[in-house]
């Protein structure tokens, strides 16, 4: 699968052919940094002064790289496809190599960052449990009622919260049995076939 680059994008990246390869390397580093932490316009201005070009040109260059990296990471394109995709930019062989290196080195992390953007439910983080036996209450004395108190830690968008829940031993066994069925299903022929074929 090849990347389709828009003319505007090509024009923005065209600036990279006019500067030194070391500068491109620096831009690449900044692009990855911005993907991690968000962009910082001051850096554009500083770089623009040094290179004696408008700050906008620098911004376009860096943002063009960021877009190139996110798009290729999103589609998880292969090494070969990446090289073919950037070919249309008319960069030197050395520059192409550098971009490929940049892509391969950061792909995993960028995909990680991108996956945080996808909508998700609260997800499991941890479970703490405690075994209690209720012996008496205000309304009823002489009880022997085993209960399992559980603290379920969930995480959603970086925020953790915990719910305290309770269940009885019989239900606990039922829960385990039911969830184990869920786990076993992943090993079934049906699931394995689908997992194998969707790659």
């Amino acid at each position: 699968m090849l990347l389709v680059l828009s003319d505007e994008h090509k024009e923005h990246l065209g600036f990279l052919t006019e500067v030194d390869t070391a500068v491109v390397g620096e831009f690449g580093r900044i692009a990855v940094e911005f993907l991690r932490k968000g962009s910082n316009p001051k850096i554009y201005e500083g770089a623009a002064r040094k290179l004696d070009v408008p700050a906008e040109t620098v911004q376009h260059g860096v943002e063009g790289l960021m877009y190139l990296l996110t798009e290729s990471s999103k589609l998880m394109i292969s090494e070969m496809d990446f090289q073919d995709s950037v070919l249309v930019l008319g960069f030197s062989q050395e520059l192409n190599e550098r971009l490929l290196q940049l892509y391969l080195e950061n792909r995993k992390e960028i995909r990680q960052i991108l996956s945080e953007l996808s909508p998700s439910l609260p997800h499991y983080h941890n479970l703490e449990w405690r075994l209690d036996v209720q012996l008496a209450s205000r309304a009823l004395r002489h009880q022997v009622k085993p209960t399992v108190t559980m603290k379920l830690h969930l995480e959603s968008g970086g925020i953790r919260n915990a719910r305290v829940l309770q269940t009885d031993p019989a239900t606990l066994l039922h829960l385990i049995q039911e969830l184990e069925r869920g786990l076993a299903e992943l090993k079934s022929n049906h699931c394995r076939r689908i997992l194998r074929n969707i790659k």
Binding site: K74, P119, H123, Y124, S137, T167, L179, R181, C191
Partner: protein, 212 residues
């Protein structure tokens, strides 16, 4: 068993043959138990068999009897305790036996209601009577799960990760109201294995504790 003066007096009035003959007594006892156990409360005062009795006395006796039943169950009183307590308030033996038999028959059911009442307070009579009963954290009653295979989303393609959506059915047994809710969360296979592993630890420790 400690009973208030009002309850003792009510029980004495109940044991007085001038107020209640055997039939009326049985009717009232049955009504008292039914009042506790059934959601359709029958009006004691309007009952045809009990019409002749002074409503104030009848009301007093009914309250006393109901309190006595609840207190006996609460204290896990056995037949001899109940009998001796009733003899103390000068019940004649025939009547004490009648009450005891009823008590024994309905005892197990009533006790069960006690344990369940924080969860299943659909019985409006019990709600009012036992509104101060046992509070406990939300109770998990069931679980359902769904297995998904995430292929892509708007930001990342070729994700290709299986994931589970777990949904716990949770029952809230707050005073007087019982409400069901669903607690949904997702987890990966590893996380689900972790969850099940920890639940199994809990189940094992229960099993061990049972053997003690």
């Amino acid at each position: 068993m400690e009973l208030s003066e009002s309850v003792l007096k009510g029980l004495q009035a109940l044991g007085d043959p001038v107020n209640f003959d055997m039939n009326k007594f049985t009717t009232l006892s049955e009504l008292a138990f039914r009042g506790l156990l059934s959601s359709e409360s029958e009006a004691v005062l309007d009952h045809p068999d009990l019409k002749q009795i002074d409503p104030i006395v009848l009301k007093h006796c009914h309250i006393a009897l109901t309190t006595f039943i609840l207190e006996s169950v609460k204290q896990n009183a056995d037949k001899s305790t109940v009998s001796s307590c009733l003899e103390d308030v000068r019940f004649d033996t025939e009547r004490a036996d009648a009450l005891c038999t009823l008590y024994q028959v309905k005892y197990g059911y009533l006790k069960l209601i006690f344990q369940l009442c924080s969860l299943k307070q659909n019985k409006t009579d019990l709600e009012n009577l036992l509104s101060s009963i046992d509070k406990c954290p939300p109770h998990i009653t069931d679980v359902s799960w769904r297995l998904e295979y995430c292929m892509k989303n708007a930001h990342v393609h070729k994700v290709n990760q299986p994931s589970y959506l777990i949904s716990f059915s949770v029952e809230n047994g707050d005073n007087g109201r019982s409400s069901e809710e669903e607690l949904n969360f997702s987890c990966t296979m590893e996380q689900l294995q972790d969850l099940v592993g920890k639940m199994k630890d809990a189940a094992k420790s229960i099993e061990k504790a049972m053997q003690l």
